[in-house]
C-alpha cells in the first residue's frame, strides 16, 4: 500500500511538472519570444485559462504527500524551510503577475509585471530542479527524523553538512531550467502562429541542445555521488524503461522539432521529464528522503501513515482524480487550437 502511494504521489508531481511546467517555461521565455505588447498578451492568453488549474496539481500533490507520508512532509518541509518559503514567494509573485498585468493599460505597469513573471518563472524552474537535486543527493537527517539545511554551506555535495545549493544541485537546477524552457517553448509553438511561433520553435531547438548537453553531466555526477542508485536498476532491470522513456523523449523531440511536429515535440519534452522523474524515484525506492547517514533514511515504511488511512484515501483519491481528469479534458478541449489575437481578454 505504501508503495502504491509512493507511485501515486510521484504521479501527481509528474502531472504538476508536465502541466505547470509549460506555463512556467512560457514565463521564463516570454520576454524573448514575445517582443511586442500584443505578442506578450498572446502568451498570457495561451496559458491564461489553464495555468491556475495546472498549479492546483502542486497543491493537491502537497496535500496527498502530507496525508500519505506525514513524517516525510514534516521533516522535509521544516528542513527545507528557507528554500520552500522562497518558492512560495515566487509562486505568489508569478500568480499575481499573470493576473494583474492586463488590468492597467500602462507600459510601465506591463513592463514591471513582465519582468516579475520572467524572473519568478525562471527562478522557480531552477529551484524546483535544485529541490529534486537535494532529494537525490540526500540531506543531513538526524536520528529523530529532522534536519535543517541552510541555503548554502561549502557548495560541496559530498560534505557532511550540505546546503540547499551546491554544484550538484545547481547543475540539476540548470537542467530543470533548460527542459522547462524547452517544454514551454514547445507549448507556445503549438498554441501560436506567425513570428511568435517561429521564435518559440527556434528557442525550443536551443533548449533541446542545452538539455542534451546538461543531461550527461547530471546523470554521471548522480551516479558518482550516489553509486547505490544503480542498485534498483541492477536488481530489477525492467526499471530501465524509465530512463529509456527519457532518452526516447529527447530523441523524439529533436526529430519533431526538425519536422515541425509541434504536438509531437510537446509530448516528447513531457516524456523526457516524466522519464527522468520516474527514473530518479525508481532509483530511490523504497527511500523517500535519503539521509547523508544511510541509517537515518526516511523510507516508505517509516514515513507512511496508517494502512487504514491509506486505504480510505485511495477511495476518495480515485474519485477525485477521475473528476479532475474529466474537467481537464473538458477544459483543454474547449480551449484547444491556436490562440488568436482578436477575441477574449488579456
Amino acid at each position: 500500500m505504501a508503495t502504491l502511494w509512493f507511485v501515486l504521489v510521484l504521479f501527481m508531481l509528474v502531472m504538476y511538472v508536465l502541466l505547470d511546467g509549460f506555463d512556467l517555461g512560457a514565463g521564463a521565455i516570454h520576454v524573448f519570444v514575445a517582443k511586442t505588447d500584443a505578442e506578450r498578451r498572446m502568451v498570457l492568453k495561451a496559458i491564461g485559462p489553464v495555468w491556475d488549474g495546472n498549479e492546483v496539481w502542486l497543491i493537491a500533490a502537497g496535500g496527498t504527500l502530507f496525508f500519505s507520508f506525514p513524517v516525510l512532509y514534516a521533516s522535509s518541509f521544516s528542513g527545507f524551510y528557507l528554500p520552500l518559503m522562497i518558492v512560495l514567494w515566487l509562486l505568489m509573485i508569478r500568480g499575481i503577475a499573470i493576473e494583474l498585468r492586463s488590468h492597467l493599460k500602462h507600459p510601465m505597469w506591463a513592463t514591471f509585471w513582465d519582468a516579475a513573471f520572467f524572473v519568478s518563472s525562471a527562478l522557480l524552474a531552477v529551484f524546483l530542479g535544485a529541490a529534486a537535486g537535494n532529494v537525490i543527493r540526500g540531506v543531513p537527517l538526524d536520528a529523530s527524523g529532522y534536519f535543517f539545511e541552510p541555503l548554502w554551506t561549502t557548495f560541496d555535495p559530498a560534505s557532511p553538512t550540505p546546503g540547499i545549493l551546491d554544484w550538484y544541485t545547481v547543475l540539476v537546477g540548470l537542467l530543470a531550467l533548460a527542459i522547462l524552457v524547452t517544454h514551454g517553448a514547445n507549448y507556445l509553438a503549438l498554441k501560436t502562429e506567425g513570428a511568435l511561433n517561429a521564435r518559440a520553435r527556434r528557442l525550443a531547438l536551443g533548449g533541446w541542445g542545452a538539455t542534451l548537453a546538461l543531461t550527461v553531466p547530471v546523470t554521471l555526477s548522480t551516479f558518482w555521488l550516489r553509486p547505490e542508485m544503480w542498485g534498483n536498476f541492477a536488481r530489477a532491470p525492467w526499471g530501465a524503461i524509465f530512463p529509456l522513456a527519457a532518452i526516447l523523449g529527447l530523441i523524439g523531440m529533436g526529430v519533431c522539432l526538425r519536422r515541425r511536429r509541434e504536438q509531437g515535440a510537446l509530448v516528447s519534452s513531457g516524456a523526457y521529464m516524466a522519464g527522468m522523474m520516474a527514473s530518479s524515484a525508481f532509483a530511490l525506492y523504497p527511500r523517500v528522503l535519503p539521509a547523508v547517514d544511510p541509517a537515518h533514511d526516511l523510507t516508505i515504511h517509516n514515513a507512511a501513515t496508517s494502512p487504514y488511512g491509506m486505504a480510505v484515501g485511495l477511495v476518495w483519491w480515485s474519485i477525485g482524480m477521475v473528476l479532475a481528469a474529466i474537467y481537464f479534458v473538458f477544459i483543454y478541449r474547449l480551449f484547444r487550437g491556436k490562440v488568436s489575437s482578436e477575441d477574449g481578454p488579456y
Partner: protein
C-alpha cells in the same frame, strides 16, 4: 520574541487572517453571481448579465489573491508545525488533500471557463460554470472547516504507540458533529461579506449618481441577501455555535464572555474590560441571566466561570479572546439593524432615495470583514493552549529545527509582500468599481473582458 512557537503562531495567524479576507468574499460572491446570472437567463435583461460579469471581474481578482495567499497555509503545516504534522498529518491532511482533489480542481477549471468562455461557448455553459465555481468554493470551505473542526473537536482517531494519532474512522472525521454549526456560521459570514460589499458598491453608485441602474440592482440583491445572511448569523447558526462551545469547550465560553466566577443565572456583558489581575470585568454593562438562558434555555442555569478550571488550561490571551468575540457580536448586531432597516425601506420602495441609509450601507463594507476575522480569532484563540483540543498542546507542535530567526525572516517577508499586494489589490478593485459595469462591449458575444 525568541520563542519559535510564538513567532510561528504570529506568522500563521497573520497569514491566515490576511488570506481569509479574500475567500470570504469569493465564497459569498460566487453565490450572488450565480443568482445574478440566473435572473439574467430568466429575464433576458442585459443589465443583469453585465452585473454578473462586473462582479465576475471583482471575483477574479479576489480569487487570485485567495489562491496565492492560500498556498502558504498548506506549506506552513510542514514548515512551521512539523511535530503537529507528524502527530496528526494522517488525519487532518486527509481533509486538506480532499480540498485539493474535489474543490480546487473544480474551481480552477470552471473559473477559467467562466472568465474566458462566455463569448465562445454561450450562456448556458457560462451559467453552468458559475454554478460549478460556487459549488467549488463552498466545497473548499467545507473541507477547511472539517480540518479545523478536527482540531477543535478531535474524533475518529486512535492513539498510536509512537505517541501520535492515526485515522480510525474516516466518516467520523468527515461528519464531525462540530462541522455543521461552524460551517453554517462561516458560510453565512461569507455570504454577508459578499452582500455587504455588493450593496456598498450599489449605494456608492446611487449616492454619486453614476451607473444608477446598476446601483439599484446591487443594492436590491445585496440588501436582500444581507438581511437573510445577517439574521442567519444570529439564529440559527450563531446560536448553535454558542451552544456547541458551551457544551464542548466551556473554558472558551467563560473566556469569551469574560466570566471569571462561576454563576447561576449568568448575564451577558455588553461592555466591560477584562481585568486579569483582579479577575473581573471593569465597567460591566450586563444583561442579567441572558447567558444562562441562551446556553441552557433556562434563566437560572449555572455557567462555569474561568475559576472552575486550572490556570494552565485557560486560553493564553483571555482579553484578546473576549474582545474578538464582542467585536464579532457587536458588529453583527449593527449589520442586522442596518440590513433590517434597508430591507424595510426597500419593501416600501423608499430605499433608493434614503441617502442617509445609503451612506450607512456604503460605510458598512468593512464590517463583515472585521466581524469574520474576529469570529475566526474567537474560535482559534479559544482553542489555545491546545493545538488539537485536549490532545496536543501548541508548544509541542512546532518544528524542532526551525529557529525563531528564520521564522522572523519569513514573517517579515510575508508582511512586506502582503502590504504591496494589498495596495495593488485595493487599487485595482477601486478602479474596477470606478469604471462600473458598463465598460466593455455589450451583448453575449463579449467575453468577460478583464482587459476590456
Amino acid at each position: 520574541m525568541d520563542d519559535p512557537t510564538l513567532v510561528a503562531r504570529w506568522q500563521f495567524g497573520f497569514t491566515i487572517l490576511y488570506h481569509y479576507l479574500f475567500p470570504q468574499l469569493t465564497m459569498g460572491l460566487a453565490l450572488l453571481i450565480l443568482i445574478l446570472k440566473s435572473i439574467y437567463l430568466r429575464k433576458r435583461d442585459e443589465r443583469w448579465n453585465r452585473s454578473a460579469r462586473f462582479w465576475g471581474k471583482i471575483f477574479a481578482v479576489n480569487f487570485v489573491m485567495g489562491v496565492v495567499t492560500g498556498i502558504p497555509m498548506e506549506f506552513q503545516f510542514g514548515t512551521n508545525w512539523a511535530k503537529f504534522s507528524v502527530f496528526a498529518g494522517g488525519i487532518i491532511a486527509q481533509t486538506l488533500a480532499m480540498e485539493g482533489a474535489f474543490a480546487f480542481f473544480l474551481e480552477s477549471a470552471f473559473l477559467g471557463l467562466f472568465l474566458f468562455g462566455e463569448r465562445r461557448f454561450g450562456q448556458r455553459l457560462h451559467w453552468f460554470s458559475a454554478l460549478m465555481v460556487w459549488l467549488g468554493t463552498w466545497a473548499s470551505g467545507y473541507f477547511i472547516i472539517a480540518t479545523n473542526a478536527w482540531m477543535q473537536h478531535p474524533v475518529g482517531y486512535r492513539s498510536t504507540p509512537g505517541g501520535g494519532v492515526a485515522l480510525a474512522d474516516y466518516w467520523a472525521v468527515l461528519l464531525n458533529p462540530w462541522i455543521p454549526a461552524q460551517y453554517m456560521h462561516a458560510m453565512g459570514g461569507a455570504l454577508l461579506t459578499g452582500a455587504c460589499v455588493m450593496s456598498a458598491v450599489g449605494a456608492f453608485y446611487l449616492l454619486s449618481h453614476k451607473h444608477e441602474a446598476y446601483g439599484r440592482i446591487f443594492v436590491k440583491v445585496g440588501v436582500i441577501a444581507g438581511l437573510v445572511a445577517s439574521v442567519f448569523q444570529l439564529y440559527p447558526s450563531g446560536d448553535w455555535s454558542g451552544v456547541q462551545v458551551s457544551a464542548k469547550q466551556p473554558i472558551k465560553l467563560a473566556a469569551m464572555e469574560g466570566l471569571f466566577q462561576t454563576e447561576r443565572g449568568a448575564g451577558i456583558a455588553i461592555l466591560g474590560q477584562p481585568d486579569m489581575k483582579a479577575q473581573r470585568l471593569d465597567n460591566p454593562l450586563v444583561v442579567p441571566n441572558a447567558l444562562s438562558f441562551l446556553t441552557y434555555r433556562a434563566w437560572s442555569a449555572e455557567i462555569k466561570g474561568l475559576d472552575a478550571f486550572p490556570r494552565d488550561q485557560w486560553p493564553s490571551s483571555v482579553p484578546m479572546l473576549y474582545y474578538s468575540y464582542h467585536i464579532m457580536v457587536g458588529l453583527g448586531t449593527i449589520m442586522i439593524a442596518v440590513m433590517g432597516l434597508s430591507g424595510l425601506l426597500l419593501w416600501r420602495r423608499r430605499l433608493y432615495q434614503a441617502r442617509w441609509l445609503l451612506w450607512g450601507l456604503m460605510l458598512m463594507a468593512p464590517f463583515p470583514y472585521i466581524a469574520n476575522s474576529a469570529g475566526w480569532m474567537t474560535a482559534e484563540l479559544g482553542r489555545q493552549p491546545w493545538l488539537v483540543y485536549g490532545l496536543l498542546r501548541t508548544v509541542d507542535g512546532a518544528s524542532p529545527t526551525v529557529s525563531s530567526g528564520s521564522i522572523w525572516f519569513t514573517l517579515l517577508g510575508f508582511a512586506g509582500m502582503y502590504a504591496v499586494m494589498g495596495m495593488l489589490f485595493v487599487l485595482l478593485v477601486l478602479r474596477e468599481i470606478a469604471h462600473g459595469p458598463e465598460i466593455g462591449p455589450a451583448g453575449p458575444e463579449s467575453a468577460l473582458g478583464v482587459s476590456a
